[in-house]
Amino acid sequence: MSKVDNQYSAKDEVASVFIKRTFLQRTFITLKKAPFTAWLGMTIIVFYLFVALFAPLIAPYGEAEIFKTPYAPWDEVHIFGTDRLGRDILSRLIYGARNTMGIAILTTLLAFLIGGGLGLLSAILRGWVDQLLARFVDVLMAIPSLIFALMLLSIFGSTALNLIIIIAVLDSTRVFRLSRAVGMNVAVMEYVEAAKLRGEKIGWIMGREILPNILPPLVAEFGLRFCYVFLMIASLSFLGVGIQPPTADWGSMVRETGELIQYAQYDITAALTPILPAAAIGILTIGVNFVVDWFLYLTSGLKDEQK
């Protein structure tokens, strides 16, 4: 805007044009300003993902490989000892990352697909569709989800697929509520009306007009939901209806090695064994929450307070 001529021209109107940067550059700038906690959270997540992806390469032994000595103490051969069947704890911890996280991610994605889709549909169509869906969700939410999940799993059987579907359906109620609420704010905007006037189908309006504008709260919710799903799977596994042996999983590992805690007075490392999978669960939950907090702060528009 350096030239100040005195003729009006539409091109010269004052507008704040952002410097053209690639996505990578923008990400880099944002990352540079990230607080310590966010970095910690990201490091934790990346570490977990790495372990999960390369589990067969990192793990010293197989997931279900059985050795001679059950309850072996911590030593050079079995760094964290073995469980009551003689399986290597460290290897199972590493494979556990893969199983627990994999199922949790799939479940969360499915929950978002169901909840987000129906939520947006409700927000756009309103009327009886909205009433029907919203009341049904109210009914589902009124039942404590852990107990409901326990019941459904014992009816349909504890396969990984059932686990994913049941938890996803139960969790999609929260996603439905959120996407319906934020979607409604966007659905009344004039650009949505303009799309309707153009004759656009509902799929376009949902996916192209509304979804991009409600993405930040949904992404934040995704992080949190992932934590809850993850904890729920761990709880269900601890209770024995979650991921079934011999598949390694942190929740059932806590249950299987739990009795070792009473030997704390003889061997402190033995007592620490059940703590390890529990800590694996706890640390990941904290890590994800750190990142979600930072993301919410970035997108909430309250940036001025940082200066």
């Binding site: 009006y8 539409a10 507008a15 303009a194 153009r198």
Partner: protein, 537 residues
């Protein structure tokens, strides 16, 4: 300028510079502006949006918005420099020596508190006087502001009074602490013309009577001509020109100022066309089971012409548009478009029918998806209606951009990277992309500055000539109607008051309502307001 006035300088800004922070860079907003204000004087600040009017107005109080900073110059109030004071010191002055009247009174009031408590709140917190005294004074102010029932109106909540009354209450709030300087930031922009006249008159009287100085920020030249003693024109953060109102209006020096003054001079010769493209017959409409918003409305739109629908907010202008587009099926009546009856409901219309009628909205901020680029916004109708793809698609988008006087550098921008006028142009291009026969323009220029308005109106006129499109132009602004219409429909309370050629409507005899509406439009003559008020008495 007399010597006496030289001594009475209340506030002086010297070479003030302000920068704003966005996208990792500090960039200048105000680039070294001088401003003086004398006791009892009203200074008008005008300029297009982005000129820095509001920033400068706030800077007069030593205030900068979040994300902005002073980078040079001084704001002298007496012997104090406001730019060098800390927040606590400045807070002592804010609300006592300075006060501020915002554009949207509805957004500035707390809906949970009664008006009178909000009126005197600042004065109480600064301990200016006792609550009882302040309440008494507030009632006197309400009286001076000509609010109905001044003794009782203070007990109401903001939603219980009209927009004009709220704006007056806000002025009373600003006056409550008897400040030396009030900053009015576009106080009447959101009001209807008929309401605006009264608010302007009361603001002017009260400021003069209390001998308070004021900075009046607006983009409406006719308004500033009524209010200000002196006018300062801003552009791109610089002062373009500054002089007494009369002198400025008669003999503007700079080209830019002259071009501002010339805005109200677009005139279109009216064309009569017997052939009708759209006929609305005896429409009744209502929202849900509520009262009737439209009653027996019949409008005829000639092919290739422009019909302006005029009226205040709540008169049913926009509802008429909703009925035509099919967003609101009417209770009764029919719409005939190009000789065929249109189905009342949007979802039953064919793609071809939808293509032929396009709509441009009042606020480009909400009518463009903030996540779509210009390419997607203009291109979607091309893809949707005309199945264009690849190179053809991109070329057509660029063609359309050129048609609206922009170029291909805009193609990858997001709406947030465009100015108000550019946004509205993109919305027009989106409508054009469908190659429609009829475009409904719903208050398309009312959110824009005058000089930008002029650009948009000229563009619309040129497009009509080149592409022979028909417009229905919904507006409350009489100057716009004069500039672009062939035929005019005056609406009031859901009824059509009058319909006819422009020349017939604007020449007497008028029905009462048309008369009131026409007389309320501010004119550039600085004595207009005085004349109007004396003629009403």
């Amino acid at each position: 300028m007399s010597k006496n006035r030289e001594n009475s300088i209340l506030l002086e800004m010297k070479n003030i510079s302000i920068e704003g922070y966005s996208d990792e860079v500090w960039h200048p907003i105000i680039k070294g502006v001088d401003l003086q204000i004398h006791r009892g004087e009203i200074l008008g600040l005008i300029g297009e949006s982005g000129a820095g009017k509001s920033t400068l107005g706030l800077a007069a109080m030593g205030f900068v918005r979040a994300g902005c900073r002073f980078t040079g110059g001084s704001v002298l109030f007496g012997d104090q420099d406001l730019t060098k004071m800390n927040e606590i010191e400045k807070r002592e002055l804010w609300g006592t020596k300075f006060s501020y009247v915002a554009q949207s009174a509805a957004a500035a009031f707390n809906p949970a508190h009664r008006l009178i408590n909000q009126t005197i709140e600042a004065s109480i917190s600064h301990g200016i006087s006792k609550t009882e005294t302040l309440e008494q004074e507030a009632i006197t102010l309400y009286e001076e502001m000509q609010l109905p029932n001044p003794t009782e109106i203070g007990d109401r909540f903001p939603h219980q009074v009209s927009g004009g009354q709220l704006q007056r209450t806000m002025t009373a709030m600003a006056m409550s602490s008897k400040p030396d300087l009030i900053i009015f930031d576009e106080p009447t922009t959101a009001l209807d013309v008929t309401t605006q006249v009264n608010v302007l008159a009361t603001i002017r009287n009260i400021v003069k009577e209390h001998n308070t100085a004021a900075i009046y920020i607006t983009h409406d030249l006719a308004v500033v001509a009524q209010m200000a003693d002196r006018i300062q024109v801003l552009r791109y953060g610089n002062t373009i020109e500054e002089s007494e109102t009369n002198k400025m209006l008669k003999t503007p020096k700079e080209d830019y100022t002259k071009s501002l003054w010339a805005v109200r001079s677009i005139k279109k010769k009216e064309n009569k066309n017997k052939e009708k493209i759209l006929t609305i017959n005896n429409i009744d409409a209502s929202y849900g089971s509520g009262p009737k918003v439209l009653q027996n409305v019949s409008i005829e739109v000639p092919k290739g012409g422009t019909v302006a629908i005029v009226g205040e907010s709540g008169s049913g202008k926009s509802t008429t548009a909703r009925v035509v587009t099919g967003l609101l099926p009417p209770d009764k009546g029919e719409i005939i478009f190009q000789g065929q009856k249109l189905t009342p409901n949007l979802s039953d219309r064919s793609k071809e029918d939808l293509r032929k009628i396009q709509m441009v909205y009042q606020s480009p901020d909400t009518s463009m998806n903030p996540k779509h680029t210009v390419r997607d916004i203009i291109g979607r109708p091309l893809e949707f209606y005309h199945n264009m793809k690849g190179k053809e698609y991109t070329n057509r988008v660029i063609d359309l951009l050129k048609m609206i006087e922009l170029d291909e550098t805009f193609i990858d921008r997001l709406p947030s990277e465009l100015s108000g006028g550019q946004k509205q142009r993109i919305c027009i291009a989106r409508a054009l992309a469908a190659e429609p026969d009829l475009i409904i323009c719903d208050e398309v220029t009312s959110a824009l500055d005058q000089i930008v308005q002029e650009g948009i109106l000229k563009l619309l006129l040129r497009l009509q000539k080149e592409l022979s499109i028909t417009y229905i132009f919904i507006t409350h602004d009489i100057a716009t109607v004069k500039a672009i219409s062939d035929e005019v429909v005056v609406m009031h309370n859901g009824l059509v008051v009058e319909q006819g050629m422009k020349s017939e409507i604007f020449s007497p005899p008028h029905p009462d309502y048309t008369k009131l509406l026409l007389s309320s439009v501010p004119e550039m003559d600085p004595n207009w307001l005085t004349k109007i008020l004396s003629s009403k008495k």
